[in-house]
């Protein structure tokens, strides 16, 4: 009896203790599933969207994105642009500090911009600041880092000079490659500066732990200027390569959100999780590219015929389970102020398209006696294969003999980059910043990504004009739209699908706003 009472009061005491602890000091932990680990946490060495998600929490650029991916002031409190659109003057946020207490100064940005362009850094995304004066020359080793068009007028004022008006410059500044780095830390630790314990950053969170392939733990930075409004205390980025296993971990409550799902099981997942499944258009295009400098693909009518005969609605629904959206333009919808230009048969029924395609092929001299032969090259992935197989079947009634060639990703892009021989190949493009330029630029003659070898004076002319009209946003968008119309008319690229994001978001998580950039800074997220 006595023991029981003793035990009871002890238990009550414990329970009370736990309750007090959970009530007053409960740490809010957000377990954020990610489909891959970052390759690097050095803003100047990163390239993937997984890194972007992490670095957006750890660092803060001049301009940042809010929960809806709209631009808001970041490390810069305000800015002015010169009348000719080439000089940006940023007023830095007063009192903003690094996680070690040092003030964030204009000099930090100048140092970071120089380091990004320094050939010795070998930054994959150095091109994010190529619009800045001398940046590209520095990156090529033709100018010194000190010559970059960025200057600290005083500690709080940064002046950036561009080569030409670049209306998407502010959008580019949301990319992690443009974030500031803490000079003393970088110089002290060299390659080790991003290790937990060494790293000094200026974002809403600081890095606490990094175990590759296991987890990355970030904790709230009390020195962050807006720390009062940051509600998540700890965020764990948890990589899960196996998509099915990730869904099970989500279901078991081990993950609060996850950024991918096995799309072939989409119907089941939707039935099970209902509105926790967030799917929507994402700024990315899944396209095929013809080798346009090789016969018979140099004939625009043949490219057109093949494109017309591809039933995009079928592929989006049957192959991708509606996790992708049929596409008839290179630039996805969702960019404010821009009107996409589509193929002129976008509104035609598939049956009419096939008839027209047949006619085009007959006119070009192809028929039962002389079938058109085409090889599709694609990189390893179940869905890329199924897409290619579907196209193979869809082209059969037209008498086109399609063969498939699958190689691993490195071989695939290595072959395309070295301008190897092919008929038609798969490729994809995800926007780095919210502007049509990023999608249209890859079809320019000088682009390393112009696998099609598409060359058109008309297209180049319109792109140049658009660049020159940089200061006039409306005019520029119109010219870009005209350029896209030319690209679509010429079938310089064959867009098939727009990407979409597919997130699983627990009902406990608030503030995870859907947006075309699929950007979800943890500082705006709450957990209930």
């Amino acid at each position: 009896m006595k023991i029981q009472t003793g035990l009871k009061s002890w238990l009550v005491g414990c329970t009370m203790l736990v309750m007090t602890a959970s009530g007053a000091f409960a740490e809010v932990v957000y377990n954020r599933g990610s489909s891959a680990d970052p390759e690097s946490l050095d803003p100047h060495k990163t390239s993937t969207t997984y890194e972007a998600d992490l670095l957006r929490d750890i660092f803060m650029g001049l301009v940042v994105q809010d929960a809806k991916a709209e631009l808001i002031p970041g490390a810069a409190e305000s800015w002015t642009v010169s009348a000719d659109g080439t000089v940006y003057t940023f007023k830095l946020r007063a009192g903003a500090t690094w996680s070690n207490g040092d003030p964030v100064t204009a000099g930090d940005f100048v140092f970071a911009f120089q380091r990004l362009q320094d050939p010795a850094t070998a930054a994959e995304y150095a091109s994010m600041l190529y619009p800045v004066k001398n940046a590209e020359a520095i990156n090529q080793g033709k100018a010194k880092p000190e010559e970059i068009g960025a200057k600290a007028i005083d500690d709080m004022t940064l002046e950036v000079t561009l080569n030409a008006p670049t209306p998407y410059f502010l959008e580019m500044l949301t990319h992690q490659a443009t974030y500031p780095v803490h000079r003393a830390t970088v110089e002290k630790f060299g390659n080790e500066w991003t290790k937990p314990g060494n790293i000094v950053s200026n974002g809403a969170y600081t890095l606490a732990e990094f175990v590759p392939n296991d987890h990355i733990k970030l904790v709230k930075n009390p020195k962050f200027y807006d720390a009062a409004n940051v509600q998540i205390d700890t965020v764990n980025f948890i990589p899960n390569e196996d998509r099915s296993a990730a869904i099970k971990r989500y279901e078991a409550g081990e993950l609060d959100t996850h950024d991918d799902m096995p799309t072939e099981q989409l119907a089941d997942i939707k039935a099970k999780f209902g509105d926790q499944v967030h799917i929507g258009p994402y700024l990315g295009t899944y396209y095929y590219t013809f080798k346009t400098d090789k016969s018979p693909w140099d004939n625009v009518n043949i490219r057109r015929a093949v494109s017309m005969a591809i039933d995009r609605e079928f592929i989006a629904e049957k192959v991708w389970g509606n996790s992708m959206i049929p596409s008839y333009s290179m630039v996805p919808p969702g960019i404010t102020g821009y009107e996409t230009s589509t193929f002129d048969y976008a509104e035609m029924s598939q049956i009419d398209r096939e008839d027209a395609a047949k006619k085009l092929l007959t006119e070009a001299g192809y028929g039962p006696d002389k079938p058109l032969k085409m090889e599709i090259r694609y990189n390893t992935s179940e869905n890329h294969k199924n897409t290619a197989v579907a196209i193979q079947e869809q082209l059969k009634p037209l008498g086109v003999e399609v063969t498939l060639l699958n190689t691993d990703t490195k071989t695939h892009y290595g072959h395309l980059e070295q301008k190897g021989d092919f008929d038609i190949a798969r490729a994809g493009w995800i926007a780095d910043y919210k502007d049509p330029e990023t999608f249209l630029g890859i079809s320019r003659k000088a682009s390393a990504n112009n696998y099609a070898q598409y060359v058109s004076a008309e297209f180049e002319g319109l792109m140049d004009k658009a660049a020159a009209a940089g200061g006039n946003s409306g005019e520029r968008m119109k010219l870009l739209s005209q350029a896209e119309a030319v690209l679509m008319r010429d079938h310089g690229q064959i867009p098939l699908l727009y990407y979409s994001y597919h997130n699983l978001v627990s009902a406990k998580i608030k503030g995870f706003e859907d947006n075309v950039m699929n950007v979800h800074p943890t500082r705006f997220i709450r957990k209930e």
Binding site: E39, S47, A245, E254, A448
Partner: protein, 307 residues
């Protein structure tokens, strides 16, 4: 004995050198490189990256750099994870893979042997059939089926285990991966043990010791088991080398930060230094375990001697 071990270590050096050389050049035959990706890099940027990793120099020079680093115990930087050296990646991942693999192998050897012995002693009886059935199932159901089933049953259904994750090495996080790694090994060991035990029990020397009137226990444990162990030892050596270097299937499904994934990912990413690192590590383990197997022969089988 010591002389023999020394000799084996000395012969291992040219073996390793050959393996490293062949792998280094073979790897470069594969098309594409570490910096080919969906978003093609600007040629200037690609050149900067290649310069940083000496990839712009002649292949022979790169090979000499690599050999020099290797002699200093430096496996080089990872191309795709630039903040980690290959040494660091193995230092973090290998202990985890070794823990899981060694536990799985140990359990498989103990329980598999017991099952095999039990089956052999009751040959063609129901216990024997049960063992054979389990063993056949265990070795034919692939781990990419077993692992999700364990997650479903014990993680989501019964909630006894976490679905995935390493949990800083918590016991409960290891159960699923160890089970998945163990089951196929258990099946193989049980079958091997059953077969060799039956054979051993039929041999002349067992008939002799039985005739001498030794107890069943002494016959089985002291005499029959010794002979029966040889095939198990031969199997366990290479199996150990394979198990403790991790499994990509188990590691990706259970989200375990081991090194098994590097064997596949490094090759697909053309992460040349990481590929070479995996080659060196697995070669060393294979050589080491083969030596241990040969030494164990001498312990178990009195006919084998290295003096």
């Amino acid at each position: 004995m010591l002389r023999y071990v020394l000799k084996r270590f000395l012969t291992a050096i040219p073996t390793l050198f050959l393996i490293v050389t062949i792998s280094f050049f073979l790897m470069r035959v594969a098309p594409g490189g570490p910096f080919n990706q969906e978003k093609g890099l600007n040629p200037v940027i690609k050149a900067n990256l290649e310069r940083q990793f000496h990839l712009d120099e002649p292949l022979v020079m790169q090979y000499l750099y690599y050999l020099n680093d290797l002699l200093h115990g430096n496996l080089g930087p990872s191309y795709n994870l630039p903040e980690f050296t290959v040494n660091e990646l193995f230092a973090k991942g290998l202990p985890i893979s070794i823990q899981l693999g060694a536990t799985a192998l140990f359990l498989a050897l103990v329980f598999g042997s017991l099952m095999g012995i039990a089956a052999a002693l009751r040959q063609n009886k129901s216990a024997d059939y049960a063992v054979i059935a389990t063993a056949t199932a265990g070795s034919t159901i692939p781990s990419f089926v077993i692992a999700p089933l364990i997650q479903l049953a014990f993680g989501l259904g019964l909630k006894w285990l976490p679905v995935g994750g390493w949990g800083d090495g918590a016991f409960i996080n290891k159960v699923g991966p160890v089970l998945t790694l163990m089951l196929p090994q258990l099946a193989i060991v049980a079958r091997l043990m059953r077969g060799s035990m039956i054979e051993s029990l039929r041999s002349h020397h067992i008939r002799t010791v039985r005739a001498l009137g030794l107890s069943d226990y002494a016959v089985i444990i002291r005499h029959a088991l010794r002979g029966a162990l040889l095939p198990i030892i031969s199997y366990a050596g290479p199996a150990a080398a394979a198990l403790i270097t991790g499994s990509i299937i188990v590691e990706t499904i259970f989200a375990i930060p081991g090194v098994g994934r590097y064997f596949v990912e490094a090759a697909l990413n053309r992460d040349y230094t990481l590929v070479m690192g995996t080659v060196v590590v697995i070669a060393i383990f294979t050589i080491l375990f083969n030596l241990i197997v040969d030494l164990l022969y001498a312990v178990v089988d009195p006919r084998v001697s290295y003096d």
